[in-house]
Symmetry: C2
């Protein structure tokens, strides 16, 4: 079969790779329906995370079950399934607590930009739809498996409640999906921080009520100005830099919450500053599995349309162009079709 | 009048100070019933926080209203009142959100080890009891105004729920009161981390089910051992050092919560570590005012007895001996009677 392999920064190739196959009785193999390039894939592409040796890429997928291991009974060949970038047995103590992305048997996906994909922990990871969904819904379901699930977790961790005020820091696909989540969870005012016109437009379409284009302390001042001078109830941090985290913490009101879902790179939080801010902080890899049934339903019924974050569609074999377009900010997120 | 004044590290004197008087129409003056020495008073006493010039000390008090400013109608002369180390108008946006210790007009108390005390923001800060409580309840009501209120906040911030597992890091008066709070909020298992026999005994009396005397990663390993290997639902951090914070974060399970109430000294939290831990973190100066009516009631009805943290009682004029006894760990907490 063929799939994407990164050889060095800037060098992603579509080439022959090992066939996806059942290695453990808890595995499944799926035929990829659609996959995509993630903002986090740009870390190795840009050389920020080193690439020691060539390896496959991709952690987002929806597809058709091709084969299941002997212990997998929850899904069967032919079904359309949605999963998560973090696999989970969905039975361990952490899974039962709703933190499937901290599953004691977790394996992170990393070979999904390919024609077929092996899914570990298939029993606890995959959720099948009742019927094969219409193809126009596949991008939305693909978004559920990562960017919407992550945006939802940001809103959940930031404790967005009906009638509350939410700020979203970051206008990538996750930030834009976080706007959807804040809206669905009932936030009355949703302030999207974005400097890019096309993303501002999508944020407004997804439910943002205000756009703040300033960054850093100027951005914080604008947020305070929009929130009675005290800051927002919930701040959804969807970037992961020191600057974005500071901006998020300073934008929350005393007693408010920051949910942070951008993997932090060189971020340290000062204990005394956090103390006197009275701000609650929670983040981590999204427990997408917890949200899957609900989010799949919202996409299938059309109440949300996160597939709109894909503003570029390419044949899977042109995966390298997907990386280039996102790296050069010509695209928010690239959808790949085998 | 007379009160405690710190002149230099180790040098606290009971001497003549300016009379407490009404300076603003929102002030009240109380005659001190009982006051005490706080663990945090030891920071300047030990020279960790510099003493630039001589100044009064103390932020814990219960007493009798002596005089009120023209805008104070909630309490009247002769009443017995309980307050908080942080004063609040109880009307601003932060107060309405339940974070009175971030009141926009907050003034921290700092002159309470004295015969009389001026209380700013008296209208929003002081809560009067219906009758004059029996003198044996005064220590418990004094504890409510700071250490029990702070322990309660630790349990609240750590989201202690009925049936949950709680770990308390720190066996000072606040940590011991945090045990009371965890018990009252329904924790089924309460693990107190303490190396001192007298404090272990009081922790058990207050409701602790397990004592862990190991510190650092050994202590964490013991906690994991007692909690199905994954860690506790809630951890109440009542110290404020880098070591205690690390111990607290590592003792919580994925999806668990750390409430931190010890003022952090040189503490930095690594963003990526917090991310992958899935632990929620919230702290700050306790919003004692939010809890006052409930906690006063629990003391008056005898359902809790936090006054037991006072294991040394001295005449106010011997305040210097109170500092010495606590500094030398001869006492958990020193009660002072004018």
């Amino acid at each position: 079969m063929r799939g994407a392999v990164i050889h060095a920064p800037g060098d992603v190739r579509f080439e022959t790779v090992d066939d996806a196959k059942i290695l453990k009785p808890t595995d499944a193999v799926i035929r990829t329906a659609v996959t995509c390039v993630c903002g986090s894939d740009l870390w190795p592409y840009r050389g920020v995370v080193p690439t020691g040796h060539a390896h496959p890429m991709g952690h987002e997928y929806v597809g058709f079950v091709e084969e299941v291991g002997s212990e997998v009974t929850a899904v069967r060949p032919g079904q359309f399934v949605v999963g998560s970038f973090a696999t989970s047995d969905n039975t361990c103590a952490n899974c039962r607590n709703g933190f499937q992305s901290s599953c004691l048997n977790r394996e992170f996906m990393s070979t999904c930009q390919a024609e077929y994909v092996r899914i570990p922990n298939a029993q606890g990871t995959l959720v099948a739809t009742e019927d094969i969904p219409d193809e126009r819904l596949w991008p939305g379901l693909l978004a559920v498996s990562d960017v919407l699930g992550t945006g939802w977790w940001a809103a959940d961790a930031a404790e967005v409640k009906p009638g509350s005020t939410a700020v979203v820091v970051g206008d990538g696909a996750v930030g834009l999906c976080a706007v959807i989540a804040a809206k669905e969870l009932g936030a009355e005012r949703i302030i999207a921080m974005s400097r890019h016109e096309s993303r501002q437009k999508l944020a407004l379409e997804f439910g943002a009520t205000d756009i703040v284009s300033e960054r850093g302390e100027d951005g914080v001042a604008r947020v305070k100005n929009l929130t009675d001078g005290i800051g927002a109830d919930s701040v959804l941090e969807c970037v992961g830099t020191e600057q974005s985290m500071r901006q998020a913490l300073h934008s929350a009101r005393p007693g408010g919450n920051v949910g942070f879902v951008g993997v932090p790179h060189d971020v340290a939080v000062d204990g005394q500053e956090l103390f006197y801010s009275h701000v609650g902080l929670r983040g981590g890899p999204a427990p997408v599995r917890r949200y899957l049934p609900d989010l799949i339903d919202r996409v299938l019924t059309g109440s949300v349309d996160p597939g709109k974050v894909f503003d570029l569609t390419l044949p899977l074999e042109q995966v390298a162009e997907g990386y280039r377009a996102m790296d050069e900010r010509r695209a928010i997120k690239a959808l790949l079709k085998p």
